[in-house]
């Protein structure tokens, strides 16, 4: 089977700091993969490379058989990757619904001409887009709040809205950066269940999480980072017992 995403010997340097060091791994269609690792391990940097915010110093990001390293973020989103951010980056003054509508940007077409002359195509598309956006909002249980400003949502809901907004771009691969950060235990459990459901909907998911225990249940494979290096990958049961992983975690805590 061909992988959906192939990271090939990727390195990212910031001046003297090597944030990601010679990392390679693959993701296959409809997998849920967890990326774990202590603070500053390079997890978010990896996401930033995959989504085009950084161009890696070395290495390739193979997606759909082409190397997308160095593509602009909007081109990457267009090609079917979408992400959420560790530090929530919603459009705070826009409404919940509008946030999701912006998420649909790459899947809608109305251009300046349609806008200025309010063409039939624009109106039709707006109607369809709104209905679709409402569908995503129902999925994450935010439909009732669709007309509130995003900034007025509680923290946990903002994280869910970010997921809905990412889903709206109809991605094949969803990258979620610590989606449970700041949530209480119950919210976290619900979220993990929800992410499990996304797999059933056909999504492929790459999920960063700080807390190893959280991802054990839903991820099929786990990738462990430490100091920019990929130190282990495999099934949760194996990862749990891997001495290097225990050391990376306990070493940090000690």
């Amino acid at each position: 089977m061909k992988p959906l995403l192939g990271i090939e010997r990727v390195t990212q340097r910031f001046g003297g700091l090597v944030a990601v060091s010679n990392v390679s791994f693959q993701i296959f269609e409809n997998e849920i993969i967890g990326v774990i690792g202590p603070n500053g391990a390079g997890k978010t940097t990896l996401f930033n490379i995959i989504t085009g915010i950084y161009k890696p110093t070395e290495g390739k990001v193979m997606y759909d058989e082409g190397n997308i390293a160095g593509f602009r973020p909007h081109e990457i989103t267009q090609s079917g990757l979408a992400r959420t951010f560790q530090n929530i980056r919603l459009f705070q003054n826009m409404t919940v619904l509008e946030n999701v509508l912006v998420g649909m940007h790459t899947r809608t077409k109305a251009n300046l001409f349609d806008a200025v002359f309010r063409t039939g195509r624009l109106k039709k598309e707006q109607l369809e887009a709104t209905q679709k956006a409402e569908y995503y909002l129902r999925l994450v249980d935010l439909y009732e709040h669709r007309h509130s400003a995003a900034k007025n949502l509680p923290y946990g809901s903002q994280r869910k809205l970010e997921i809905a907004r990412a889903m709206a771009s109809e991605p094949r691969l969803l990258l979620l950066d610590e989606p449970a950060a700041g949530m209480n235990e119950q919210e976290t459990a619900e979220l993990m269940e929800f992410i499990g459901k996304l797999k059933a909907l056909g999504y492929t998911i790459l999920l960063i999480e700080h807390d190893m225990k959280l991802v054990m249940n839903i991820c099929e494979r786990i990738i462990v980072f430490d100091h920019g290096c990929l130190i282990a990958q495999g099934e949760p049961e194996v990862i749990k017992k891997e001495p290097k992983v225990i050391e990376a975690y306990l070493g940090k805590e000690a």
Binding site: H74, R83, F85, E98, A115, V116, R118, A129, S148, R165
Partner: protein, 328 residues
């Protein structure tokens, strides 16, 4: 406060029509040359301020050189009308195109850079354009200005009475409002607002931010060029003093005062700040100081401007949603 806003939001159309009716009746109630002239200038500044609001208010890119595009439009129209006797349909469109082209050439390299480069570059650009207008004697006649610019005429009908100019600008204002509103209410407009809120997130949502910024900068400049063409043919005389940095800053202050990303706010901002110096005639020399003080006060008390960030369409939807919720 929220109640009042919701009420205003629900009656948006009615209020817009009332304001339009008042604007149409204005010269009949206040027929003096002076009041019609002030109202006409207000209209022109509304076009200028709304166009600046597209790039600065909605898209969040601070431009401090709007008067440059206004001037480019005015000179383009003036030169074409006086030397080539072109009809105003051509002079207006040419003014918009030349101003838009200038914005394109200026914006493409500048808007690539993150941060406040646009503010600095546009400020410098405005000064450069003024110097060119001042010194390229062959083209602009420098400080002498261009005289005897013919009034707009079409099919034998010439706009020359003040009241005709007034209705002409009212039509332009209505068109501009409609244009800005249509852009803002569309997918394109949401992209622009997303850029102003968070560029990284906007890009991650698939918005080509450079393309959008350049596009809106060009539209904004083209509209200013249009206003410039109007100004040239209305005044029938232009010189470089009308298009300097102080003019750019005045337009900028109008949108800051009235509200970034707000059409009613812009209109109110323009009217207040155009009439204020007239009311305070004796303090004419202190005009810019007064503007400055207003700006500082605004920044302290209400940094988003009078009506900034108040989106009546959203308020209406939210209110309707609540009502629907109560019925359930």
């Amino acid at each position: 406060m929220n109640r009042i806003l919701a009420c205003l939001a629900r009656n948006q159309l009615l209020i817009s029509l009332t304001v339009l009716a008042l604007a149409l009746l204005f010269p009949l109630v206040f027929p003096s040359q002076y009041s019609i002239r002030m109202a006409t200038l207000c209209g022109m500044y509304i076009v200028l301020a709304l166009s600046l609001n597209l790039i600065t208010g909605y898209t969040g890119q601070v431009s401090l050189g709007h008067a440059a595009f206004f001037g480019i439009g005015a000179y383009t129209a003036a030169i074409l009308a006086t030397r080539f006797g072109l009809n105003f349909l051509f002079t207006f469109i040419a003014a918009a195109i030349v101003a838009g082209l200038a914005a394109f050439l200026l914006g493409l390299p500048t808007l690539k850079l993150k941060g406040h480069y646009l503010a600095m570059v546009t400020l410098g650009f405005c000064e450069i354009v003024r110097l060119v207008e001042m010194n390229w004697m062959g083209l602009t006649r420098g400080p002498l200005g261009i005289l005897n610019i013919p009034p707009p005429s079409l099919w034998g009908f010439t706009i020359d009475a003040p009241i005709e100019y007034y209705y002409f600008i009212v039509a332009l204002v209505v068109l501009t409002i409609k244009l800005v509103q249509n852009i803002v209410d569309s997918r394109v407009g949401k992209g622009l607002i997303a850029i102003s809120e968070d560029e990284i997130a906007a890009e991650a949502m698939g918005i080509n931010i450079l393309r959008y910024k350049v596009m809106v900068f060009v539209i904004s400049a083209a509209l200013a060029g249009f206003a410039g063409a109007f100004y040239a043919q209305y005044m029938s005389y232009i010189d470089p003093t009308s298009f300097g940095t102080d003019q750019s800053i005045s337009i900028f202050i109008m949108i800051i005062f009235g509200g970034l990303a707000s059409i009613p706010g812009t209109i109110i901002g323009v009217i207040v700040l155009t009439l204020l110096p007239e009311v305070l005639r004796g303090l004419m020399d202190f005009r810019l100081i007064i503007y400055g003080l207003i700006l500082i006060a605004m920044m302290l008390v209400k940094p988003e401007g009078l009506l900034g960030n108040i989106n009546f369409t959203r308020i209406k939807k939210a209110a309707d949603g609540k009502k629907a919720g109560e019925l359930k």
